[in-house]
Symmetry: D2
Subunit: 357 residues, 4 copies
């Protein structure tokens, strides 16, 4: 292997290898004075709930949780009725990456339908409608979509609206896994109006609004856009082990993230860094790439023999081993110099290999 | 109501109304530099695991979690076999205060036996032995004890040892809910040797080692004293929504807590403040009190008409409404002046009432 | 041990050691001609549903099941909402004798309250009302009573009515485990009007109407007295493994049992045989007995040394080993000569022992 | 529509629309004398367990259940470890036709892989091996195959052996859903040796041996080929609501079925009637058919306009509505004259339609 230039200070492994934004740490420290009522009865949490109502421009009910799996399970537990199942794609985080936690806690089937771009369509939903009413089959009750998706793709406002209409017509509700919702909003126009169009106006019932991948230390928000769906949610949050004892510290993080649209700025930055990375690596010999990314991930196919040396130099994950496809992801803290350093190393390795062959 | 003196700066509501110890916040901030592998593959977590091995003086396996309910459910899920049940007292946190989360996730019965002092005895365990082998009854598989207990009582080393022997003789394992284990250790002699005597040497199988109530922002540790019991634990932790994405921030908190025996110092301080509180309120007319506390909680019976005014002045929880019993609890950050101010207010109220009657 | 007279042809072990009534076997054979739609779409099942509407004098929805545990779990699954729990006595079959199946399938806590006579009171229910609304505690949602109870006691119409009122006032529903409901009806007046008074008129929401212990081969009915509660029941029945493939054979059994009030006659007979047994053994030296039985079970205390020899002669079960208490139970097929033979053996044994001491 | 000839006395809807074999009804009546210990402690059950040991030629442990869903769930519950999942095809009864009961009771994911012929291959299993060891993913622990399959196809002895080897090499166990195992054995050579080759010798861990679809009133057997896997099974059977109170009546049915290889004769007959049906309808204009059936089901594609009239004349189920494909199935009681009458009607309808077009 050729000698590679210095590795970037920050890797492209995932957006959760980044730490917390300084404002988040400051907010935690700032909340650490005196006594406060536990379990969300504190003023930070009350303020946070108000801020989410402002953000969504609606009378939403917000419950904070520790992590994304917990947020998803809480949302689904709030929506599912007896003998009901969840429709999702076969790329959905809930079915692929949560170790069966949803099935175990919910006692429900996840109907995970093939979707090469990780996006559900109204046809997917309608394809399951024949199950409705038969006592021999699970009853699809909830449609779960991820925005932005696990493959770095996006639903448009029209697409979300159509999904919600189809689901509601069939008596189902809609959950949006928004672990990276900020990246989607930033990509689709970048303002609070886009957030509202994608959720409240589109007809989504419950959104999980991600924090951890967007600069928090640990925190997600489950936002019930139809507050009557939250009736049992406080009990269910405790049941899924997501009721923080010292809730002020979760709420304070979100207050920092929602302040001055920091959530949008961080996501927009990560998206921009990913576009920069795409520019820098497009055209490097031996790399296969799709078009420019819409959010903060790339899924390049690399020369097989370069994957391990490059990973050893600056870590990243495999995506599809059979195709030598990997994932590169930017984060809120990725800097242009990281992108340039990473692209330089990839280029050096690829060119050396190309010249050998 | 008589005019009360100024309320204390810090209340006696619970040990989770306190914030985080400054060293914990510093540790979080200190861990917030650069990128780190997620999900516990970072150096802070590796160091934390080593520190727990040092602490227990044994080859223990430690898994960090967000909160106590999650830690308990993870521990029990690791221990329970098919069709098995958990024996505990009717005061146990898992049966009283976890909203049925254990039953829902574990799918198992909690056999909660009457225990006026919240302490399980070998006789309790043996009383359930007749269930073993009958296909009509759940099979007691795990004994769960809380140390210190929900009533502020303690198991001695001999008592824990006897419970473990009885449980093991009957083919059961032993879980210790140690949300306030530090307070117990501090009370029972105060050193690492006491911790080991109460756990490893006594024969306990899995301990949850509390952090949140002892100065952390959020964090508990599930310590498998017999590492083979941890075989499936990493998968189960994810299933119970307790795998932190940015684990370094949980690990860093524990590193601060374990440094220079801070965990012991904080717990010993809370215990001492509670003893001071007992001294200050003993003898106030109208208050019924047991003897001096062994850990950090008092359960006084108050004149009925004083409960609401005193609570409005400085918040605390009811314990047994029918008896006008309340709970006062000290924390790692309680100061002597808080105790004196609180006791002064209580005395003022009680004496005014006594003189009226 | 003295020589005992010949043992009875039929034992007093339980009402499920009896076989099926001949009319039930005939009904099964009679239904065994030609093809019939499966899963309850057959004419026998339709007829059976109509007969249950006639029996209860109301527009009830009835779902047939294989066994009593399945019927109870189906009923409770139909009633329980998210994070809800079941209130029952500590003698309840669902908590003592169903191997944790309810907890596992329902994912819910059974709050089993001490009740020396196995009867729940309005006070029991009200004692749990403080849990309502707190996210830290399970929410009592269903009250489950057994009629007649596991201890052979009975609820009066007034008692059931009061329980239902209390439960409904607190937002809970009421399940009646009627595995031996026929014995209760026969004892409390003996007619269909009594059945209706105890259930529909009293305000019960769902009843399981027992068949197996009253002359069927295998079959129980879950009767939804408020049909809207049955909305999800057909799906749940399949989920709990209780949807019979060849349902006609369960329905045919019930048609035989409901014909000409056979269910009442069989239960009344079992009750009468138990009263006869009480008459015959009352006054035998060394036996401690309560007053005459109201249904079909006795719980005598025997001389300790006689239990094993008598059991070897004609089998019966222990009840409370610590008190040398056993259970004797009559069935639909018990004959007077069985009672006389059994009582004669007991008398012989007891008198021989008494004369020795 | 043309006038159709008389409909057959027995339909081709399914093998569970047939009643019970007369010998089964006789066996039930024969077991209905006197008292017998409940819950399987009776002599019929003991004899039945011995007969299953004879049948499999091995020290198997057999637990009887009411129905097939219950049997499958019991088998899987006995095999699954914590955080484990089941690999099956997307046609598997457990994933398609059991209303999510497995997910609810087991709390486990069913990984249902696309298999156009409803048969799993070693490649299917190996394709999931990458999940093993990662705490983010369920751990495949059990492979479930159906023999004969839901599509009327068969695994050869070599195929089952290869699946078992692959599963065991990866640390997984193998469950065979044998609701129609008798049809498979009859087709693959027809003797007890074939049964043993397909199960014990092939390395299967647990088989459910179907009864209901092969002439029983209601009854399935879960046969543990490695008895140590049955250690917790008696408790789990009660938990899944499958412990019959009057077990003698389930055991007696199986004794009749196992007597003189009745199980094989009935299945072979159903298979033969299906081959006859294929002969009779092959070549009818407008019908698309695969080759001769190996077990007892056909999946013809019919002229669209004939489906409803033919169904109204003699009921059968749709299979793939989009392709106008239906399912015709023979049973243990199908007679040649039923086949001829059914084929005659189909021919009349098709020819009339063909002549019109």
């Amino acid at each position: 292997m050729v000698q590679l230039p210095p590795a970037p200070a920050r890797s492209f492994a995932s957006d959760n290898v980044a730490g917390a934004h300084p404002a988040v740490i400051e907010a935690i420290a700032g909340a650490n004075h005196g006594h406060a009522a536990p379990y969300g009865e504190d003023p930070w949490t009350a303020e946070c709930e108000a801020r989410f109502r402002d953000l969504f421009g609606a009378d939403v009910t917000t419950l904070l949780t520790f992590n994304g799996t917990g947020a998803n399970v809480l949302a689904l537990a709030s929506l599912l009725g007896p003998a009901e199942a969840v429709i999702c794609t076969d790329w959905a985080h809930i079915t692929v990456d949560e170790t069966g936690g949803p099935e175990r806690f919910l006692g429900a089937k996840l109907i995970d339908l093939p979707a090469p771009d990780a996006k559900l369509t109204p046809e997917h939903i309608r394809s399951q409608a024949h199950l409705l009413g038969s006592p021999h089959h699970v009853q699809p009750g909830v449609v779960s979509i991820t925005q932005s998706t696990e493959l770095g793709t996006l639903y448009s406002v029209d697409e979300v609206t159509a999904l919600c209409e189809t689901a509601h017509d069939l008596g189902m509700t809609v959950h949006m896994d928004g672990a990276r919702l900020a990246n989607a909003v930033a990509s689709l126009g970048g303002g609070v109006e886009t957030l509202r169009a994608l959720t409240v106006a589109a007809g989504v019932d419950v959104v999980t609004f991600g924090g951890t991948k967007n600069g928090l230390l640990a925190g997600e928000a489950v936002v019930y856009l139809r507050p009557e769906l939250a009736r049992r949610a406080p009990f269910l949050r405790k049941q899924v082990n997501q009721l923080a004892s010292k809730m002020r510290f979760v709420a304070a993080q979100f207050l920092a993230l929602l302040e001055d649209e920091l959530w949008l700025a961080l996501a927009a930055h990560a998206n921009a860094m990913c576009r920069l990375l795409h520019e820098q690596v497009a055209g490097i010999p031996g790399i296969e790439l799709d078009g420019p990314p819409v959010v903060n991930s790339l899924f390049p196919v690399l020369p097989a023999e370069l994957i391990e040396p490059l990973r050893a130099w600056s870590f990243f994950w495999d995506w599809d081993v059979s195709r030598h496809q990997v994932r590169w992801m930017t984060a809120w803290d990725t800097r242009p110099e990281d992108v340039l350093a990473f692209a330089a190393g990839v280029r050096t390795a690829c060119e050396a290999t190309a010249s050998k062959n």
